[in-house]
């Protein structure tokens, strides 16, 4: 389920993964704090330019690029057998999944041995989850559902308190809270998995180093 190396960071050790999760949430916190400093756009024309920017930040930053889970790429995979095939199947098994994202860039990508090795590792990570991983994924969603409930509960109380203090703050706070909820809803299960999964044993994977793979026989 968990890619053992992502963006050059080895994720076999739980401690590293936990740091990864903490860094992710720190980045989210800083981004939200920065967003809250913007003046809320009152004009529709400003709003329409502001909205896609925030949507991109909320959705694109955590799924395909960092955490994975609901989409292809990222550190965690969610989909089991049939659902995986339905989403990512490709007639050419070598291009399975990956082709959907970078189909046009394939020849250039594969011609480089280092990149080809990365691609092999990517295919090993992008695979249907097995039974144990499915259980872990489901458990993560149960935990995330519970956490999300408490976040909404805490947010609603905070919203009521802020509404009693200042209407200007309320508009700004409500907006940031909604953004936080969106990001949290799309990243909590992945974070739970990264946080709680034990250390990965890579001894049975037998992944050759790219230099070794390039050596003549």
């Amino acid at each position: 389920m968990i890619d053992h190396r992502f963006l050059g960071i080895p994720l076999q050790r739980r401690q590293t993964r936990r740091r990864f999760v903490v860094c992710y949430w720190l980045a989210v916190g800083i981004a939200l704090a920065a967003l809250s400093q913007f003046r809320m756009p009152q004009d529709v024309s400003h709003w329409t330019t502001f909205l896609p920017l925030l949507l991109t930040l909320g959705v694109a930053s955590n799924m395909p690029l960092l955490l994975g889970g609901f989409s292809l790429g990222g550190a965690v995979a969610f989909y089991e057998g049939s659902r995986f095939r339905k989403r990512y199947a490709d007639p050419n098994p070598e291009l399975r999944g990956f082709a959907i994202v970078w189909r046009k860039g394939w020849p250039r990508f594969a011609s480089n041995p280092e990149r080809a090795h990365q691609l092999r590792r990517f295919f090993q990570a992008v695979r249907p989850v097995d039974e144990r991983e499915t259980q872990l994924r489901d458990e993560a969603h149960h935990a995330a559902h519970r956490m999300l409930f408490w976040i909404i509960y805490a947010g609603a109380i905070a919203y009521l308190i802020v509404s009693a203090i200042s209407q200007t703050l309320l508009v700004r706070f409500g907006f940031v809270l909604l953004e936080l909820l969106l990001i949290a809803s799309m990243s909590l299960p992945q974070c739970w998995i990264l946080w709680n999964s034990p250390d990965i044993d890579l001894s049975d994977r037998n992944i050759p180093h790219p230099e070794a793979a390039c050596e003549p026989n």
């Binding site: 756009p41 529709v44 709003w47 329409t48 909205l51 949507l55 259980q135 994924r137 489901d138 458990e139 969603h141 149960h142 995330a144 559902h145 999300l148 409930f149 909404i152 907006f175 909604l178 909820l181 969106l182 809803s185 799309m186 299960p189």
Partner: protein, 199 residues
């Protein structure tokens, strides 16, 4: 999951999947009707909070899961908090004394825990979709006055955008605490009859 529902003193057999699916459909149809009725009443200004109470009652009496009672065992595997001291004799005389539930009434076995987690996995997508819808509805509140003015609907529904956000939020809350139980009731196959089970 319990195979029997006691409603207003009547025992209803919930072993067949057909019965459980009918119950789920009835619950959501009723809640949709109540919500629509409340919108016509005062646009959920005051009555919106009542939907939360309706949801708690539905969980408590019919679905279970997030409240003790109902068909599905509590998700948190905790018994309903009951007073440790014996109830007054008056309550015993009125037969409203509730004894401490047995372990089998709130402890989930391994299979039930797996089913619970999977139901949450399936329901989670609906929750995320609800939040995304709230987001879009919040955006619509900004655009709504201009759009509605163009279509001459502004006079008919001046607060349509705000109502939309509030309505979707309420619906998301209701769905988030009822959907996992509904998925369990919907997908669980027919339970064996007691005779079959014994044989």
């Amino acid at each position: 999951m319990r195979a029997e529902l006691i409603l207003m003193g009547k025992r209803i057999d919930m072993a067949p999947q057909r019965h459980r699916r009918t119950l789920v459909l009835l619950i959501y149809a009723s809640m949709a009707s109540i919500m629509t009725g409340l919108w016509f009443l005062d646009h959920w200004r005051t009555t919106g909070a009542y939907m939360i109470f309706v949801t708690i009652a539905v969980n408590r009496l019919l679905l279970g899961g997030y409240n003790f009672g109902g068909l599905v065992k509590p998700f948190n595997e905790k018994a309903h908090p009951a007073p440790e001291q014996p109830s007054p004799f008056l309550l015993l005389g009125l037969r409203v004394y509730r004894p401490q539930p047995g372990d089998s009434e709130y402890r989930n076995d391994e299979r039930e825990l797996q089913q619970r987690d999977h139901a949450h996995y399936v329901a989670y997508s609906a929750l995320v979709a609800g939040l995304v819808l709230i987001w879009f509805a919040a955006a619509f509140t900004r655009v709504a006055p201009k759009v509605l003015a163009a279509t001459a609907l502004l006079s008919l529904a001046p607060n349509l955008g705000v109502d939309l956000v509030y309505g979707i939020t309420l619906a998301t809350i209701v769905i988030s605490v009822t959907l996992p139980q509904s998925i369990l009731l919907w997908t669980e196959p027919d339970m064996p009859e007691l005779d079959e089970f014994e044989s």
